[in-house]
Symmetry: C2
Amino acid sequence: VEEGEEGMVDLIAGQVKELLKRNQVKQSDLPGIGVGCAGHIRHSDGVIVTTSNLEGFNNYPLRAELQSHFDIPVILDNDANAQAYGEYKFGAGKGTRDMIFVTISTGIGAGLVINGGLYRGMSGTAGEFGHTIVEPGSDLVCTCGNRGCIMALACGMALPYMFEKKLREGMETKLNMPPKFNISKINGQTLKKGLDMDDPLSKAVISDSAYYVGIGLYNLFQILNPPLIVLGGGLTNWGEFYLDKIKETFYELARDMLIDPIRIVLSEIVGDAGVIGAAALSLE
Amino acid sequence: VEEGEEGMVDLIAGQVKELLKRNQVKQSDLPGIGVGCAGHIRHSDGVIVTTSNLEGFNNYPLRAELQSHFDIPVILDNDANAQAYGEYKFGAGKGTRDMIFVTISTGIGAGLVINGGLYRGMSGTAGEFGHTIVEPGSDLVCTCGNRGCIMALACGMALPYMFEKKLREGMETKLNMPPKFNISKINGQTLKKGLDMDDPLSKAVISDSAYYVGIGLYNLFQILNPPLIVLGGGLTNWGEFYLDKIKETFYELARDMLIDPIRIVLSEIVGDAGVIGAAALSLE
């Protein structure tokens, strides 16, 4: 990140070339090079419009810059789209033509597979599920500036605020919090520890996140009526407790409006889903 | 409605036959007969699963029953899907391959056109936009049983509750309300009168409806990133005041996340959009 835009491009290109060399693979042996990147990506011309995960890179033509280093096609897409496509081709979505992949991580996003292909919408930003609003009067504000979107209420970046709010409301925690404890460092792993020691505050924050993700999935169900929703991203490491709460909210809301059974499952390509998905983009 | 399920089918079949006769058209001159019906329709086998607009008709095989009267194909779909397809073929959606039609009427629903075709999802219920939840703690409850879905907060059926709530909160109205006035009769036309006489309570209810529809459209934008949203249904007769408020909410939320311009326009097939849309289904 400290290398800046050009430095980053040189680094990526260098790494790809190094990988090719080490594996004795020629560029011409490959259909292409797929790149997944967080943020609003304009798929048509491979430009990062905005991204909150990197400094700079506003209206940055990442695809063209990378392409100048290679003779085979470079494809750039949003990382959630890449993961969705990977899951569709090689993971939990194999054999279906329609699915939604939702990643619950630092941020929250989704990729839509519709009629057997990624659906990107007008500008390439379809699937920005994390920015759908489900609590417009909330005091939790997202990095996008809006109140009460699912990211503000449930994602990794929101955890310190959610935690602090419950502390302020008088809830007690079993987590070890020395006097100079920096609450902004609270993340998914902190709360996993809390969950494992049966800490009521950690469980309350995890439950809140699950509740809003559950509402969000219900809204996706009403709009797209998919047969399959695949969940990935770091916060799913909270495990059964988290997933059960998400499903509980979903099924309480969907009830008899669910005509056919829907599958809500975990990602099957754990860990490298983003990389495998990005590579798979060149098979699209 | 009083004729019951069988009586209704006989009535529809009789009317279609009468229309054919009067216009000297043979069945074989037509590609098919399209039927649009409110409710959850399973498109694969033409069964009404549930509908809150008719008595009976639960798990009712309307398509098969109508088909038994005709030699050409009968197609049954949800009325919002039919209107969406009509608008796509002959109205505001001509020339686009992707659009969302939203009807704001007694209820609220939507039809999705994706990659040049209606998208129905797994069971045929995709586009049930009205049941997406945007205010889970609301005291307004939908006929579906959930709190704070857009229908509960913004549709024609919700107007009496919205009106009564504002009265209870102490707002005054210029509308003539004699002692035995039945508040449950308040509908879109009542509030149109109120709007025309600059009644603050009517305008507040209309603004609230617009606010929640605006949030709903913003959520649709984040999920599907469509180039075009077409609005139809009786409540759009509230005109500019209503549409401006809807757009105001939408653009306040979307801001710089809107990479390409989106068109939010009124239905161009006013009045018979449902009938024209249903007929158009046989061209799909």
